[in-house]
């Protein structure tokens, strides 16, 4: 088999990670930019209509308006993020509320083991409950000290930094607690069900 073709003088966008190499998961390239990825039109949600709901295996579902949601206990988060399309961005700065604090507002049924995030526009992604508790996940409405732009998921998006970024659902509108796992938009079309970048869990079967 002949060597694959290499384009003379082409090096691509990847930066030399230097001393940060240990923070880049396998197969990833370091980027300074913030690529915009999506599967559909950017939803236009007025803050007067926006709402966030937790439902499913909970004692009683809860819905917050934008004012109520952004008044919840929130904090700054600085995290590294990795997209399955191979870019990694270090030290991204967000502000929002942890899923621990959100789930503390409902009584979660002991049968609940999974959560599906639902977004305006129809996107879904699924996660084990154990991957979103203990400060591992939050819903952010600010990025880099400014309101989260619609192109990057604003008004609010889920952020789960320890998994590939397709799990960080943009335009999130709620969580459904479930006993059974239900593969979401990309998980049902060849992507890995969990998506740990450090184990390169990109595709199903990885």
């Amino acid at each position: 088999m002949s060597d694959p073709f290499v384009s003379r003088g082409f090096t691509g966008r990847a930066h030399d990670p230097g001393d940060k190499a240990g923070r880049i998961p396998p197969g990833q390239y370091l980027t300074d930019g913030f690529p915009v990825l999506s599967a559909g039109p950017t939803p236009q949600i007025g803050l007067d209509r926006w709402a966030f709901t937790i439902e499913g295996l909970v004692a009683a579902p809860i819905t917050w308006s934008w004012e109520q949601f952004t008044a919840l206990p929130s904090r700054d988060w600085t995290v590294d993020i990795s997209c399955v399309t191979k870019w990694t961005k270090l030290d991204t700065a967000w502000h929002g509320v942890s899923l621990d604090d959100l789930l503390a507002a409902v009584e979660v049924d002991p049968r609940a083991r999974f959560v599906t995030a639902h977004s305006y526009g129809g996107y879904t992604t699924n996660l084990p409950l154990t991957d979103v508790l203990n400060n591992q996940a939050f819903v952010a409405w600010q990025y880099d000290d400014a309101p989260l732009e619609p192109a990057h998921g604003g008004p609010a998006r889920l952020v789960v930094p320890h998994l590939y970024f397709w799990k960080s659902a943009k335009w999130v509108r709620g969580l459904r607690l479930m006993a059974e796992d239900e593969p979401g938009f990309w998980e049902s079309l060849g992507y890995h069900n969990r998506g740990d970048p450090w184990r390169e869990e990109r595709y199903s079967g990885d």
Partner: protein, 245 residues
């Protein structure tokens, strides 16, 4: 059944500057296949570490030129592939390509006309392939090209278009320059809008086949405008290039 589409290694045999930001690259293809005006080639670059970038570029040359194609490429400042073509590629370099591709945004003389072609910036490339094809065919239907560029020096194929129009009363050119116009400029000086579309439609003379190519927002505005002016949506074909350059 045509052969399956596979990647092949093409060789750059000529580079020609069209405007300060746009150049045409002639690629000799070992597995050349006659294309149709409007089709494109996919180009794939591979770095030594395996990193890959891929883009599509419309074919500018007519299919009568056997064995090679011209791809006219605009240099996008923060792009990945176009700066490589403009800043690195030299005659003799090899490039991995796949094509010709496209079954919808294509025109052949047998499809008739009149043709209403609307271009934003480098969106003129596939439409030029159509006009070159049309020029090679005798008795082709009337055609109107409405194109938008920032300044006069940014108008791609300016001299060739003027020569085509001078030699062919059935070809009408309508040009708008949106950022700066030279002294004595008699064309338009603003973004493509309803009155300009109406003029182009009137110049076409009869319900046309419309092909619109360029930045996404320009293409959508023009397509919506034509439909509002009564053109049937089935007669309007679009090729969006994405964010404006």
């Amino acid at each position: 059944m045509p052969e399956p589409l596979t990647w092949q290694i093409a060789t750059v045999t000529a580079i020609r500057a069209e405007t300060p930001q746009v150049s045409s690259f002639t690629l000799a293809l070992p597995a050349w296949r006659a294309h149709r005006a409007g089709q494109h080639y996919d180009v794939r670059l591979t770095a030594p570490d395996g990193y890959r970038a891929q883009r599509s570029y419309s074919i500018a040359s007519p299919p009568s030129r056997r064995g090679e194609v011209d791809l006219t490429i605009e240099r996008i400042a923060d792009g990945e592939v176009s700066p490589y073509f403009h800043d690195v590629v030299e005659v003799g370099d090899r490039v991995e390509v796949r094509g010709p591709i496209g079954g919808y945004f294509v025109w052949e003389p047998v499809l008739g006309g009149p043709l209403l072609l609307i271009a934003g910036g480098s969106g003129v490339v596939p439409l030029m392939a159509m006009l070159r094809e049309r020029a090679a065919a005798d008795g082709a239907a009337p055609a109107v090209l409405l194109s938008s560029a920032r300044t006069l020096e940014d108008v791609i194929y300016r001299d060739e278009l003027a020569a085509l129009a001078a030699a062919d009363r059935g070809l009408r050119l309508i040009q708008t320059l949106t950022r700066a116009q030279p002294p004595g400029w008699t064309g338009y000086d603003r973004r493509i809008d309803r009155p300009m579309l109406a003029e182009a439609l009137a110049a076409a003379g009869a319900p046309p086949l419309a092909y619109i190519c360029g930045p996404t927002l320009l293409v959508e505005a023009a397509a919506n405008g034509l439909v509002e002016l009564g053109v049937s949506p089935a007669q309007v074909r679009t090729e969006r290039f994405g964010p404006t350059s």
